[in-house]
Symmetry: D2
Subunit: 195 residues, 4 copies
Amino acid sequence: MKQATRNVRHKSRVALLLVDVINHFEFPDGKEILKRGLSIAPPLARLKKRARTAGVPTIYVNDNFGQWRSDTKKLLQYCLRPEAPGLHFVEQLQPADEDYFILKPMHSAFYQTPLDLLLRELGASSLILSGLATNSCILCTAHDANMRHLKVIVPRDCCAARTAREHSQALEHVAAMADAKVVVSSALRLGALHG
Amino acid sequence: MKQATRNVRHKSRVALLLVDVINHFEFPDGKEILKRGLSIAPPLARLKKRARTAGVPTIYVNDNFGQWRSDTKKLLQYCLRPEAPGLHFVEQLQPADEDYFILKPMHSAFYQTPLDLLLRELGASSLILSGLATNSCILCTAHDANMRHLKVIVPRDCCAARTAREHSQALEHVAAMADAKVVVSSALRLGALHG
Amino acid sequence: MKQATRNVRHKSRVALLLVDVINHFEFPDGKEILKRGLSIAPPLARLKKRARTAGVPTIYVNDNFGQWRSDTKKLLQYCLRPEAPGLHFVEQLQPADEDYFILKPMHSAFYQTPLDLLLRELGASSLILSGLATNSCILCTAHDANMRHLKVIVPRDCCAARTAREHSQALEHVAAMADAKVVVSSALRLGALHG
Amino acid sequence: MKQATRNVRHKSRVALLLVDVINHFEFPDGKEILKRGLSIAPPLARLKKRARTAGVPTIYVNDNFGQWRSDTKKLLQYCLRPEAPGLHFVEQLQPADEDYFILKPMHSAFYQTPLDLLLRELGASSLILSGLATNSCILCTAHDANMRHLKVIVPRDCCAARTAREHSQALEHVAAMADAKVVVSSALRLGALHG
């Protein structure tokens, strides 16, 4: 069965990806990543708001944290518990009704997920990659996007890693090896990218 | 980031797949499929119960119906509305807490989904395929499983199509061309398959 | 390393696929398939010739027959031995220098092959599926193409199966379930499809 | 059609991958990579010889250099022309009859290739990654292997990049982020890995 309801709510040449921002930070290095991650929440929230205004779709691609339940709401509730370490981070970056949400089982946003298909339906040939962590999921996703001939843009103030060194080396790497354009989020002209 | 919580709740050489049973039946031929599908709900519910007793994991692989929200609960609520045409079908086949739930964007349960990875984590090398529709998602999934060297078992009383002819031709096809074993559900020895 | 030589030799909205026609027929049912296959060689050879004239690219997608050597020429030589059972079939359908050649490890032309990428580089959004066998590799490939939103056209006189019944049932199936257009090869207007 | 000849010539828990060593070096930075690459040819040739003795399969995964012809021999001949810049490099690392050869269309050895399937048939759960370039195809392949739960070993003297800095940063990265074990080739105990 394949239904008639396959349509998406946007048409845009660019999409904004938020990787692993709905996060409980309960893993090795979680504390360090959260510490550095806090600084990206305000500019990323602003970028997301600008994307909405410009008609650019926002796609959350998020670890399923081993739950295999496809239950976004439950995951969100868990990360927003009053005692959750990432509460202040996550509450700035909550998905809205018009956002898309894809669960990923591993690091890359493309590996065993329908991201490729969603991007085709949106008409998106460029990706703005944001979230956690620069040298892990962002880097893997950048390579996978590049192999699919998608253009990759990474706003450096909207992603973070465990250390400043890992962050900057990963940015240098994706610029050189995955053909990514590394920018400051405020310099992104979303209207032009939306096309 | 890759977390320590990657573990699954079962180890089993076989898994039971329920394909597209959480269904609103609001698509062309939906009425016909529901009509024929109603008869599979009781034996499938029994098979699912036996699977639980035998420690065989149940995996729902379900169309996302174009929603791209990874919101299982919302989908379930919609299909269980008092006025939903498939209410009586779906209420017999609701997922339990220990079941796995994967959203698929297209026909095959493997295409752009993490099913392959979940099966590896479960240790499953055999699949019992059930649900809707025999000559569409079941057939595609059977071929994809066969190409991954997974053994396929199709209980003929636990899947349905628009017509009896399409159902039986599809069963004949997967037996001959996807190396599937077509059986009656009551003949399945789940303990032995679980290994 | 990713080189500058990524370019293809065609741009076309449609591509002609020849599936498993470079064949030694040394497998169960090989004799039966060859017997029925012989009748498709002349119309398929004509279709291939017309494709060339119209600027439509021809892609061979062929079983690697367990060799894992990526050695097309050796495979071709083996199938063209004077004593090869399929000699008369294969010699009518030999690849030319301008044709593309992809080895597939399993039934579908898409599974673990670069076909998807080649089609994107060619700009092809429609596929003409031909070759062997209608109810196996052709059927699997038709479903996989449909899930990728590619349009599928199957010229009924350019593919064959073990029996006439399996052939016609498979054609009926892909028309109904994979949205394929089943036609006679002489009716194909390649110029219009090329776009 | 799926033939009976699917078998491979080895059973081994580990496989040695040679990435992009059959190379014409005719691309930007080709000269720099060749210059640094020359030093890896002797230890890699030794490692390959030891692998053969230990029964460890060698898999070439090589760029198709935009040719889409699956013609290994032609590619090899081109890279071994007397005037080919990489002649001295390539002639030390030629595939033998018992080696496997897979063409890849993009950076990762897994992307749109049958490598995953070949590894399953070999029974290999560990990969020794060698070849060119450390911070490109080796790094992408390491991540893709890690996402498939394969163990990755990188002999640092058997891979190279444009610069020593890129080489060592990439090694540091795959050790930290793709769970790779970075070693010196002479320290590899192939018999134990073969299992």
